[in-house]
């Protein structure tokens, strides 16, 4: 059974969003997603300063099995990327919601997060997918 922390918001494409004290959004992929992908071997993180729109691929995670795009949950500008993932992609497998964060985003519209899936909605979604 995958973990779905109660303090985050989610997307249908298995990304999570955390609102940080400074107003930035920390983003990554969910426990369900990392489990489905299997052991990650490469992560391509975005360049800080890059502007991304909602639903646009901003990172690539590559497992032993397959390469997958990671989509940006809301529009904004990349403020930082997790440099540790270049040498330790397994952080996403081991700690998808903490050490495995992918990027920090300065949102274009801070209220956009409220439109994302709640933990309860996301739990239902992955249950339907057979989690």
């Amino acid at each position: 059974m995958s973990q779905v922390p109660a303090d985050l918001r989610y997307t249908k494409t298995h990304e999570w969003v955390r609102i940080m004290p400074d107003g930035l959004l920390e983003i990554g992929i969910t426990d369900h997603a990392q489990h489905a992908l299997g052991d990650l071997v490469f992560v391509e993180t975005p360049e800080p300063g890059r502007r991304v729109s909602a639903g646009e691929p901003y990172a690539v995670v590559e497992s032993v099995k397959a390469a997958s795009d990671v989509y940006c949950p809301v529009a904004g500008e990349i403020a930082a990327a997790n440099a540790e993932l270049a040498s330790s992609p397994e952080r996403i497998n081991q700690s998808p919601y903490e050490a495995g964060w992918i990027a920090r985003l300065r949102p274009q519209d801070a209220t956009a997060v409220a439109k994302l899936l709640t933990p309860a909605d996301y739990s239902k979604l992955i249950e339907a997918e057979g989690d």
Partner: protein, 370 residues
């Protein structure tokens, strides 16, 4: 729901992630696929490969039939217990399947074929057998467990009585023996030493659990694939199939052209290929840098010609991507691979990439000095 091996319930209870593989429900991994891979390179792991077909060929003309059926020559099996790797070919010289033949005794052989092709293989073999005095019996009563890794043989021996253990440990490579209810073969598909164990399906669960207790970890098809690719071993349906012949599949060594009077199926076409030369070949590729080579990606070679990757993965041992690719025969040096729209340089290398734990080491690191 797919077909199930005798170990299906055990896999479920061990928390395996099950996938469909050629119509069979089999474990992809139990935990981390990478951990399972490393366990086999460093210690030992076990695999359920009961989906593979175990076909006993018996009868007065069993040897003559197999000499006709298989491009390698079963006459090399001069004493019981010897095993031989080879291919069944079609009349065009294409590979129907690759297999291992074990010589059980007078007029008795055992053929182990791929799981995804076993029904088609059985039909092909029965069709070819019609002119020979042989019976082909599918041993659905047997399970097949591969125990692989530098410690694998010693771990299996711990389950045997002392005299049996000594006998098992004395088996040479590509040798097999019936020891109690176990048919133990010193064969495998990982590039490591080990045994493939055929045993009554009802006993498989017990053997698996006892090996787990000894510290031999359960491994899935994911690790099996990265291990075999590091070892430079072809996967049927990917690296060769009915449309490719052995000489363009790095399997020329399995074709026995002597004695010349042995008319195995496909021989005529292969002689034509040898006379004219193969247009294509199967090579190893290593990627220098990030990214993963995967089956189906285009390979661009000098002169504007193209090939394609037949199997690709991330090598957990080398920590970089490796592949097998079918390319024009003149290909050498470096090639470009189209990975998700980007052209990345890869080095043409001679497999295996890794052999018997003693890693060959990356061939890329020596590129500058050669």
């Amino acid at each position: 729901m797919g077909r199930r091996t005798p170990l299906y319930e055990l896999h479920r209870s061990l928390g395996a992630r099950l996938i469909d593989f050629g119509g069979w429900d089999l474990p992809l991994a139990y935990g981390s696929q990478l951990d399972e891979h490393h366990a086999v390179r460093r210690a030992a792991g076990l695999f359920d490969v009961s989906h593979m077909g175990i076909l006993d060929v018996r009868g007065r003309e069993a040897q003559a039939f197999l000499e006709r059926l298989i491009a390698n020559d079963v006459a090399k099996l001069d004493v019981p217990g010897k095993a031989l790797y080879g291919c069944m070919l079609n009349e065009s010289g294409g590979v129907v399947d690759d297999l291992i033949v074990y010589f059980l005794g007078a007029e008795r052989f055992r053929v182990v074929v791929n799981g995804a092709t076993r029904d088609a293989d059985l039909a092909w073999m029965r069709a070819q057998a019609s002119r020979f005095a042989v019976d082909i019996v599918e041993r659905v009563d047997l399970a097949l467990i591969a125990v692989q890794g530098p410690e694998a043989r010693a771990q299996v021996a711990r389950l045997l009585a002392p005299a049996e253990a000594a006998y098992a440990l004395a088996l040479g490579r590509y040798r097999a023996a019936q020891i109690g209810t176990l048919y133990l073969a010193r064969t495998g598909y990982t590039g490591e030493d080990g045994f493939e164990v055929m045993l009554p399906g009802a006993d498989a669960d017990g053997l698996w659990r006892r090996l787990n207790t000894l510290g031999v970890i359960s491994c899935g098809l994911g690790a099996r694939d990265t291990l075999r690719l590091e070892a430079g071993l072809n996967l049927y349906g990917h690296d060769m199939d009915a449309s490719t012949h052995p000489y363009e599949s790095r399997l020329g060594w399995t074709v026995a052209l002597e004695p010349r009077e042995r008319r195995f199926i496909g021989r005529g076409m292969l002689e034509g290929v040898l006379a004219g030369g193969s247009e294509r070949k199967l090579v190893g590729l290593e990627l220098d840098g990030r990214g993963v080579l995967r089956a189906g990606q285009r390979v661009l070679v000098a002169g504007g010609r193209e090939g394609s990757i037949t199997s690709g993965t991330f090598s957990p041992t080398l920590q970089r991507s490796i592949a097998l690719a079918r390319v024009p025969a003149a290909t050498a040096g470096t090639v470009q691979v189209d990975i998700r729209g980007k052209l990345l340089e890869a080095l043409v290398v001679e497999p295996p990439f890794v052999h018997r734990g003693a890693q060959k080491g990356s061939q890329i690191q020596t590129k500058g000095s050669t």
